[in-house]
C-alpha cells in the first residue's frame, strides 16, 4: 500500500514523500517501513509500542492510534505529526 511520509521523517526515505509498504495492520506497516528505512519506526512509536504523543496515523480519511488497526492493500496510510516543540 501507499504510505505518505511527513517532512520530518523524509531524512529516512531519501526525501521521498510516498513509499510502498506491506502489512495487515498499522503496526506491521510500520515494521515494514523500518525494514526499508532503519530507525524510522522508533521516531514514531516508543519502546512500549505506543504511538508517540504528537504522531497521528490516518488510514484513508480516518485517524487511528492503535497499531493493531487492520489495513488493506488498497488503503492509503498517512503518517502525520503535530509540529510541536516551538
Amino acid at each position: 500500500m501507499k504510505v505518505r511520509i511527513p517532512t520530518p521523517l523524509r531524512s529516512y526515505t531519501n526525501q521521498v514523500s510516498a513509499v510502498d509498504a506491506d502489512g495487515a495492520t498499522i503496526g506491521e506497516v510500520l515494521e515494514d517501513l523500518d525494514r526499508q528505512f532503519r530507525g524510522l519506526r522508533f521516531r514514531v512509536v516508543d519502546e512500549q509500542g505506543q504511538l508517540r504523543q504528537h504522531m497521528r496515523i490516518y488510514v484513508n480519511q480516518d485517524m487511528f492510534r492503535e497499531l493493531s488497526t487492520p489495513v488493506q492493500p488498497t488503503d492509503e496510510v498517512t503518517l502525520m505529526q503535530a509540529l510541536s516543540g516551538g
Binding site: P8, R38, G39, R43, D46, E47, Q48, H54, Q81, L83
Partner: protein, 387 residues
C-alpha cells in the same frame, strides 16, 4: 557559517534547542571560527567528542514530535550516522517506561574504549560498547528495586521532565560510578552498576519532610575531580557542596558565597589540574525562582581553596542581563591558563582565557544553548601534568 578547519586550539561543541554548532579556536584562543548549524531544528541536548580518541562525536537529539535518538560522527560532523539501536527501556517491562529524551552523554573509562553512558528522561541509564551505535539499558540501575522510589516515578518534578545526569566514572576503577537524578539525589555504585546507594547526607532538601533525608534531593550538576577522584563538587537546587569521599557527607561550601548572591545555580566546573578550583554561575533562586543572575548582574564565581572563599568574575559581562545558564552549558578547557566557557539561553557563548577573571562573547544569536563541551579533535585530551 564557514566550514571548520583544524586550528590547534580547543573546539567547543554547542548543543542548542535548534541544532549543533562547533567553534574552533586559534592556538592562543584569540579567534574563533564557527560552523553549523547541523541538525537544524533538532533539539541537540548534548554533544560530546570522545576524549579518548578525539574522533568519535556523539549527539543526543530529538525533535518536538519525533522520539529521541543518538547520532555519531567521526569527521567532526561532516557526516553523521544514526545509532543502529538508540537508547530505550526494555519493551514490555513492568513499568512501561518510554524514553522521552536522551539528556546526558559520558564517554566511559579510558581502559574501555568504545564504552559510553547515556542518562535519560525519565531517569534511565544506558550504555554502549561500540562508540554509541548500539545501546542497552543498564538493568542494575533501571530495574533496581528502589528505582521507583528514588526516581519518584511517575512524578516529573523537574520543569522539563525528570532526568538522569552527571554520570561520573572513577578514573581508578571503571566499576565505580556516580550519577545525579533531578530529582532524586546523588547515587553511587562500586560494582559496575549491579547495585546502588544514595549519597546525599549533608545536602539540604527543605522541600522534604525530614531534615536530612537519604534521597529525594535535586542535584543540578555533580563533578568528580579526575586527579583527585575522591573529591566531588555539586551544584544543587539547594546550594553548592563539596564532598571528600571518606567523609561521606556533603559540606555546603556555598555558605561562603556573598549572601546577596546566594549559592543557587545549575553548572559547576572544575580546574583540570587543581582539585581546589571550581567555577559556578549563580542564579536567582528567590521568590518564584527566576533562574536569572541575581539582580540581573551576570557573574562567574571561582573558588581556589575548595570552597572556603569565592571571587567574582564579571569583567566584560553585560549588566543588566536576564539569561539563564543551564547545567550542561558551562565547561573548561585543558590549556595552561584554563579557559572557561558558558552558553546562555539567549544564544550567546562567552569565553574567558584567564580562568574566569574577564570575559568576551565569541558568538551571538545562536538558538537557546543547552550544552557546551570542549574537545580536542584528532588528539583527544592533551596529557595532563600535575604541577
Amino acid at each position: 557559517m564557514a566550514e571548520m578547519g583544524s586550528s590547534g586550539g580547543p573546539t567547543l561543541l554547542v548543543g542548542t534547542r535548534k541544532g549543533v554548532f562547533l567553534l574552533s579556536s586559534s592556538e592562543d584562543r584569540s579567534s574563533w571560527e564557527a560552523s553549523g548549524p547541523m541538525f537544524l531544528g533538532h533539539v541537540a541536548q548534548h554533544v560530546v567528542l570522545d576524549p579518548r580518541n578525539g574522533t568519535r562525536m556523539v549527539l543526543a537529539g530529538r525533535t518536538g514530535h519525533l522520539g529521541p535518538t543518538v547520532f555519531h560522527s567521526d569527521d567532526l560532523g561532516v557526516t553523521w550516522t544514526e545509532a543502529t539501536r538508540p537508547p530505550a527501556f526494555r519493551t514490555g517491562e513492568p513499568l512501561e517506561r518510554s524514553l522521552s529524551a536522551v539528556f546526558w552523554l559520558t564517554p566511559g573509562h579510558v581502559d574501555q574504549p568504545g564504552v559510553w553512558f547515556a542518562g535519560g528522561s525519565p531517569q534511565g541509564l544506558f550504555t554502549s560498547r561500540d562508540g554509541g551505535d548500539t545501546w542497552d539499558p543498564v538493568d542494575g540501575w533501571n530495574d533496581h528495586p528502589m528505582w521507583e522510589t528514588w526516581a519518584e516515578w511517575p512524578e516529573q518534578n523537574t520543569p522539563d521532565g525528570s532526568m538522569l545526569h552527571s554520570i561520573n566514572i572513577d578514573p581508578r576503577d571503571p566499576a565505580h560510578m556516580y550519577i545525579g537524578l533531578s530529582s532524586g539525589g546523588v547515587f553511587e555504585t562500586t560494582n559496575n552498576a549491579a547495585n546502588w546507594a544514595p549519597l546525599n547526607l549533608g545536602c539540604d532538601a527543605p522541600f522534604m519532610p525530614e531534615p536530612d533525608p537519604e534521597y529525594g534531593h535535586d542535584p543540578h550538576c555533580v563533578r568528580l575531580h579526575p586527579l583527585q577522584p575522591d573529591r566531588l563538587y555539586q551544584q544543587n537546587h539547594c546550594g553548592i557542596y563539596r564532598m571528600d569521599r571518606a567523609d561521606a557527607r556533603w559540606t555546603r561550601i556555598g555558605d561562603n558565597m556573598p549572601t546577596d548572591v546566594g549559592d543557587i545555580g545549575f553548572p559547576v566546573e572544575l580546574h583540570p589540574l587543581d582539585p581546589d578550583v571550581a567555577w559556578v554561575f549563580p542564579m536567582d533562586g528567590t521568590d518564584v525562582w527566576p533562574r536569572t543572575s541575581p539582580d540581573g548582574r551576570p557573574a562567574v564565581y571561582v573558588t581556589r581553596d575548595a570552597g572556603e572563599t569565592w571571587t567574582r568574575g564579571d569583567t566584560g559581562l553585560p549588566s543588566p542581563a536576564w539569561f539563564t545558564v543551564k547545567r550542561q552549558a558551562m565547561t573548561t578547557d585543558r590549556e595552561s591558563a584554563v579557559g572557561v566557557y558558558f552558553g546562555t539561553t539567549s544564544g550567546d557563548l562567552w569565553a574567558s582565557v584567564d580562568e574566569g577573571a574577564s570575559w568576551r562573547c565569541i558568538v551571538s544569536h545562536l538558538p537557546e544553548i543547552y550544552s557546551v563541551e570542549v574537545g580536542y579533535p584528532a588528539i583527544g585530551y592533551p596529557e595532563l601534568a600535575a604541577s
